[in-house]
Symmetry: C2
């Protein structure tokens, strides 16, 4: 059976079911980060992301932006869990003929982010590949125990929010997005956030992850979803990947408190319902449409 | 300028010189593991290794052994620093047409090792690649502060040891070697080990890393170097990669204590000298030959 038949998420589910971990693991495979013991007050967050030339970035791209993105996607995972990133390792697979300048640029792009977010590059590996460049970055971070947020905590009645605007990322910000660490820290420090994820695969796909892990359903309102100017269409905006915005849910009282802040970066787009699992889109005329998760998939 | 011009180690040196870290980092780029703060008694060890199809394993290889090796190489790094491995992340770059069974086998090979060494697979990433399979595994481990060993502690007069036998790995054990965690723990718990590295690039190359980091020179004795039956020649045995044996140095008194154990796995092969940096090979007739580091290089 080909991987393309069970798809990326089918494969992850299969791997998750086959792996046993011991009792020290707070949270293993299946969230944005693994959660591990650290000290009395904090957990370790541990995550990695692999970028591949021709899939995650074009060959013609500015290598500085490629390096930046390779780190930024993992910082976005740390943000999703409410934490701060501190250390990272960089594995580079590069073809023999590559220029040293390109490698310099990859690291320049990364160090621009490490300086901003207080992250240290502490090691890595360099391998020769015969084809395309591969960059795999793993990141270690910390989160105060009371600030940890996962995908599985959404409760019936929670209001669903996103940061920023969605869609058209491939034409604009997929290489230059700011990982939402600042916003995530503001949220987990000041509000009871029940669930959170970053939109890497597309709004409906990532919301589906929250619904599945939390065993709830949801409605979202078409009119409320904030679209980027570069969004190609509404459907593109809710199903295309690489927005790297935060998608989170919090109790309605907390949502009211958040609304009082009049911070334009946070937009409420729907609610967690006690209906059967699944997602509905409510249109302007009140019509409700069941929508299946759609988004970027590798296979 | 092409990467092939400055080589793998030139590139690592260049990256190391361009990276700044903050004071929390105990040891960053340039050893087998990064060393990070953990608690009053222990450090975190953090390392990663990337394997590429066609470079580190053949396409025709048993995927179970490929998965095993992908984890084993990082466990060998943890051993080099005297620690125990506890958690790992697995990034897989796989082509669209790959069979699910192959992925199952990769994980089977890894879980055989995680069970034996008490390691938990806690997450990872899956990406599509257009060409060859890429597996990058990062590992987190721990080491008691008094047990940490790096490359930079070799002292004049230290005796140089290796574990096991060298050479011919590509014909025999490069896919099936046992990471020397048990042996490393025995050493760091019972002896004062001044420096240690795993032989991944070849004896002379890896000894050169110890000499360079410790700013010392060394002599090794041709007759003392334990050769594998599969070694192609003496030169192959001291310069071919993928032995994954430990290479370590300890004061001569400690070496005498180690010799008393009559443990055949440890063989003394030479001594750290106060001569100018560099490595000499002493032959049976007493002739001394300066030898340049040679071993596996990606570029």
């Amino acid at each position: 059976m080909r991987v393309s038949k069970i798809g990326e998420f089918g494969l992850i589910k299969r791997i998750k079911e086959s792996i046993r971990t011991d009792s020290s693991v707070i949270h293993g495979i299946g969230d944005d980060c693994a959660v591990l013991p650290f000290d009395a007050k904090r957990y370790l967050l541990y995550t990695c992301d692999m970028l591949v030339e021709g899939v995650d970035f074009k060959t013609s791209e500015d290598f500085c932006l490629v390096g930046r993105k390779a780190l930024a996607v993992s910082l976005s995972d740390i943000a999703s869990c409410g934490g701060l990133a501190r250390y990272c390792l960089v594995s580079l697979g590069i073809p023999r003929g590559i220029n040293v300048k390109s490698i310099d640029q990859i690291y320049e792009g990364m160090t621009a982010l490490t300086n901003r977010y207080g992250v240290n590059i502490v090691g890595g590996d360099i391998s020769r590949v015969e084809g395309k460049i591969v960059i795999d970055v793993s990141v270690l971070g910390f989160v105060e125990k009371e600030c940890l947020v996962l995908r599985n905590g959404a409760c019936i009645g929670d209001i669903i929010f996103v940061t920023g605007k969605l869609g058209g990322s491939i034409l604009s910000k997929h290489l230059t997005f700011k990982p939402r660490i600042k916003e995530a820290r503001f949220l987990v420090k000041n509000f009871r956030i029940n669930s959170m994820i970053d939109i890497s695969d597309g709004l409906t796909q990532d919301l589906h992850h929250i619904l599945e892990e939390s065993k709830v359903g949801a409605v979202i309102y078409k009119e409320l979803i904030p679209l980027n100017k570069t969004a190609l269409s509404f459907n593109e905006a809710i199903s295309s990947g690489e927005d790297f915005e935060l998608l989170f849910t919090l109790p309605s009282r907390e949502a009211n408190r958040l609304a009082l802040r009049k911070n334009k970066i946070f937009t409420s787009i729907g609610q967690i319902t006690n209906k059967s699992p699944g997602l509905s889109l409510i249109k302007k005329d009140g019509c409700e449409e069941r929508i299946k998760p759609a988004g970027f998939r590798h296979f």
